[in-house]
Structures are given as structure tokens and as C-alpha cells.
């Protein structure tokens, strides 16, 4: 059994219902191949740092998957032909970091950091 972090980026004009559909679709693929989804995170609509296929923003969905490598083969096979997706990435990890949430309340964190930096100077 391996642990994987899997992130997909959907197009900017996908509706919330469609995003849920996508999440369900890929969750089902994982479950069919005897995998287990430990956690799903939705990072929401984020600004892309460069334009991909005429999209300025993207919907990010993040999975933490436990299972064999076959799942990843199956997932990526489906994601290549999915027209709603812009990018996907799979990272094999040794341990899941379930507490760290880098994308929730992002603005507040950033503001605090900047203030600290200014004070230091």
C-alpha cells in the first residue's frame, strides 16, 4: 500500500455541481480499484499564475489516496481525456500531513505575515 497526494485543476467556468460530479467520478474510480480516500480538500477558485488554455483561474481539488499504483494509472488515464481539467499532479508521500491547510483563510495568513516582515525591517 502506498500513499499518494493527487491534485487536479478544473476549468474556471465549471459550476459547483460539476465540481462535485468530478470529485465523485474520481472517488469512484479509486474505490473501484480497492483504494481508500483518506481526505478530500477543495481549495476553491484560485488565480493561475499563467494562462492555461485561455483560463485565468482554476478550481483546485486535492485528494489524499491510500492504495496501490494501479489506481494512479487508472486515474490518469481518465484525466488525460477529461476536457474539464487543466492539470493534474500525483505525488507519492511517506506520511500524510492532515493538519496543514495552506489554502484555507489564505488572505488572513498573508496579511499577518506581511505585517511581521515590515516590523522586522
Amino acid at each position: 500500500m502506498n500513499l499518494y497526494e493527487h491534485t487536479i485543476v478544473a476549468r474556471q467556468d465549471t459550476s459547483p455541481a460539476q465540481i462535485k460530479q468530478l470529485t465523485d467520478k474520481y472517488s469512484k474510480i479509486v474505490e473501484k480499484n480497492d483504494g481508500e480516500i483518506v481526505q478530500t480538500e477543495e481549495w476553491g477558485l484560485l488565480n493561475l499564475s499563467y494562462i492555461i488554455k485561455k483560463n485565468r483561474k482554476g478550481n483546485y481539488i486535492h485528494f489524499k489516496i491510500k492504495g496501490s499504483g494501479k489506481i494512479i494509472d487508472e486515474l490518469e488515464k481518465n484525466e488525460v481525456i477529461d476536457k474539464n481539467l487543466l492539470r493534474y499532479i500525483t505525488v507519492k508521500v511517506k506520511k500524510f500531513d492532515l493538519d496543514a491547510k495552506y489554502f484555507s483563510k489564505k488572505d488572513e495568513y498573508e496579511k499577518k505575515e506581511y505585517k511581521k516582515d515590515y516590523n522586522r525591517d
Binding site: 485543476v9 493561475l48 499564475s49 483546485y60 492539470r87 505525488v91 500531513d97 496543514a100 495552506y102 498573508e110
Partner: protein
Amino acid sequence: MPSKKRAGNKKKGSQSNFAKLSIFQTSKYKFKKSCPLSVKGAPVVDYKNIRLLKKYMSENGKILPSRITNVSQKKQRELSLSIKRARNLALI
């Protein structure tokens, strides 16, 4: 002529590099020798931690060399890998 111009550019480059130095070093004369990411309680290098990764990148989005940031070889490898992952996801 072209060689002279190039030399001029290099000087400018080193100056701006020196400006970067002050971000990571406490003062001009006292240089930090230890790696900022290997200390106890240091943040984990991860492709999702954009705030951390941005610290180790230039304004143009290039990865800063470890001789400027004082990052150890091991951590520098981790950094560059995670920066490239974040770039692929268009986070940086």
C-alpha cells in the same frame, strides 16, 4: 564593446544579489552559517506551501541559488523539486 557591456550587467546583477542577501542575513557583517530549513522547528518544504517557496524565488520566478540563501544541499534539492511541482500546477 560587447564584453564591456556584459561586465556592466554582471555588476548590476551582483548588486541586486547583495540586496537579496539582506533578506536572509541578519546584518551585513554577521553572516548566518546554518541552513534556515534544517533548524529544529523549521517549516516543511512542500509544493503546497507557496508562501515558503516564494521566499526562495526571485521576483521573476527563478529559483535562488543556495549560496545566497544558505540552504543546505539536501533542502535545496527538495526546494527545487517542490517549486517545479507548484509551477506545473500554476500556483507560482
